[in-house]
């Protein structure tokens, strides 16, 4: 497969017009047609229906399009790097985080890309997952980290980063704090601090509280508020294991580890990746997320 052939096909997919696609790629129309035909031979089928008024993508064309867009975006981001840095000294990167995803997770990846992307300006934004998907499509955030997603539009790419369990976070002085793990029966008896709009709440309800809702008295939409409440002895927070904790809090596993979720990375398909975004997506997909988990574990053990 050749880079130019891929460029020709993507220009054609974009314009659905051979003349305009050839102009976009600065080649003659026969050269563009030949390049696309060769790509079709290699990919084993037609990519485009060539009908006078109705040029459109075949099923194969639609299937390979996102992949080829990503591959091209990935090569172009590196090529543009030097040029872009000379022209602009600000490289913005807006990262969306679902409420249960701590910013501490993205600090090391950001530090890594800052070495190569001078002028990096990071904006972190916390919103519920469904809102983050909208913001991605609107171009307000470039990439997002979310927990389990019920549904996502086709135009969103997503990659699973890691799985983590939910634990019970409570004050060291809490009557259950001395146990090695908390049983589900004990959770049903205890006061559970209510995280408003928690995306994992339905899963907890189904797996741990199938008969009656948890005993909620106090609530907040912010994790830090909940932690302060827990530290003051107002109840237990059910939190993802990676969540950093106030020093006076302890995290205990829930017996049998019933609730897990997957942390996922989202980006919009087919959009031009900036060098900063390209580097972030690549680092995130290779990062050893378990290091972070064991770090949390170590923090917990020493607390």
């Amino acid at each position: 497969m050749e880079l130019n052939q891929v460029r020709y096909f993507l220009a054609l997919a974009n314009t659905l017009n051979f003349t305009r696609a050839a102009e976009m790629c600065s080649v003659t129309q026969p050269a563009l047609t030949k390049g696309v035909q060769r790509l079709e031979q290699e990919l084993g089928g037609q990519l485009i229906y060539r009908e006078r008024q109705l040029t459109h993508l075949t099923d194969l064309g639609k299937a390979v399009l996102p992949m080829l867009e990503r591959a091209l975006a990935s090569t172009e981001a590196v090529r543009r790097r030097a040029r872009e840095f000379q022209q602009r000294d600000v490289a913005p990167l807006a990262i969306g985080l679902a409420p249960s995803i701590s910013a501490s997770l993205v600090l090391e990846p950001i530090a890594e890309i800052r070495k190569f992307v001078p002028g990096l300006h990071v904006e972190l934004r916390e919103e519920p997952s469904s809102r983050l998907v909208e913001l991605l499509l609107e171009g307000e955030v470039n990439v997002a980290l979310v927990g389990d997603l019920d549904e996502k539009p086709e135009r969103i790419d997503d990659w699973a980063l890691f799985e983590e369990r939910y634990v019970a976070v409570l004050a060291a002085s809490h009557e259950l704090a001395g146990l090695p793990a908390i049983g589900i029966e004990a959770l049903r008896e205890a006061i559970i601090l209510d995280r408003s709009n928690c995306d994992v709440a339905p899963k907890f309800q189904r797996l741990c509280f199938p008969d009656a809702p948890p005993n909620h008295i106090h609530s907040s939409c912010r994790d830090l508020h909940l932690q302060h409440l827990a530290a003051a002895g107002f109840g237990i927070v059910l939190a993802p294991e990676h969540m950093p904790r106030l020093p006076s809090l302890r995290a205990l596993p829930i017996e049998g580890d019933p609730v897990w979720r997957e942390v996922r990375l989202l980006a919009v398909q087919g959009r031009r990746y900036s060098p900063a975004l390209d580097a972030f997506v690549k680092v995130a997909r290779l990062r050893d997320w378990s290091l972070h988990q064991s770090h949390s574990e170590a923090t917990r053990m020493s607390a």
């Binding site: 497969m1 591959a71 990935s74 190569f116 680092v283 990062r287």
Partner: protein, 235 residues
């Protein structure tokens, strides 16, 4: 256990061609059929004709290593000759044999002040696992979304027949690559000089044949000390 170590050290002293014969002797009928099909398909479609050649400019890249740290090809080639080797994945025994062979001559690369990077189409923790399993201290980079393989002209889409065979063996490239499209590089080795020009190119559609590390080292030696006015002799 002792036996395994002996067998392994014996393998390390063998040429890649000898290891190839051993591995192919273990092919089932289905493996052999699939192997012949893929190699014929690659040759008939002339996929390797897209690959970059000696004298071409080597596209630069910035890719994460097995631990998620970014590595820049520009930086590496500023330090000396750069060898870029594309492999198929940790599931391929021929690739693993090649990686082991490269590991055994790593000191020689170092003594020539040459950097070697091996590029994998695999993401997640797979490069990390492979390094651990094979006890490698090579720089393994993840060619996330195949961008570099495409720019070096070595990427192809796995034909359906081959996909069926690999799926049947339990290989899930969707999981391994983070993409539902089954794409693979033709294993290839490029030697790049400090000016970013390709000085050696080994691209062989038969995935069981790899460039011997000794040949890569000879290629680097041919570059000689960096004297711009004197082009390298030989190939």
């Amino acid at each position: 256990m002792l036996m395994t170590v002996e067998v392994m050290s014996e393998r390390l002293t063998k040429t890649l061609n000898q290891v190839r014969n051993d591995l192919m002797a273990g092919f089932s009928d289905a493996d052999r059929e699939s192997y012949l099909y893929l190699v014929n398909w690659l040759r008939q479609a002339d996929i390797a004709s897209h690959a970059l050649r000696v004298g071409d400019i080597a596209p630069d890249f910035l890719l994460p290593d097995a631990h998620g740290r970014l590595v820049s090809s520009e930086q590496l080639r500023s330090e000396g000759p750069l060898v870029v080797s594309f492999y198929r994945g940790g599931w391929c025994p021929f690739c693993n044999a090649e990686l082991r062979a490269l590991q055994t001559v790593k000191d020689e690369f170092d003594s020539l002040q040459a950097n070697l990077v091996v590029l994998s189409p695999e993401t997640r923790d797979l490069p990390r696992q492979l390094k651990r399993q094979l006890n490698l201290d090579l720089t393994m980079l993840a060619d996330v979304d195949h961008g570099v393989a495409i720019s070096y002209g070595v990427l192809f889409r796995v034909p359906e027949e081959t996909k069926a065979h690999y799926s049947g063996q339990g290989y899930d490239f969707g999981h391994r690559h983070g993409s539902t499209e089954w794409m693979l590089p033709i294993p290839a080795t490029f030697v790049i000089d400090q000016d970013g020009i390709i000085q050696g190119s080994f691209v062989e559609p038969d995935f069981t044949i790899r460039q011997e590390p000794s040949a890569i080292l000879s290629n680097i030696r041919l570059l000689g000390p960096r004297i711009k006015d004197e082009p390298p002799t030989g190939e």
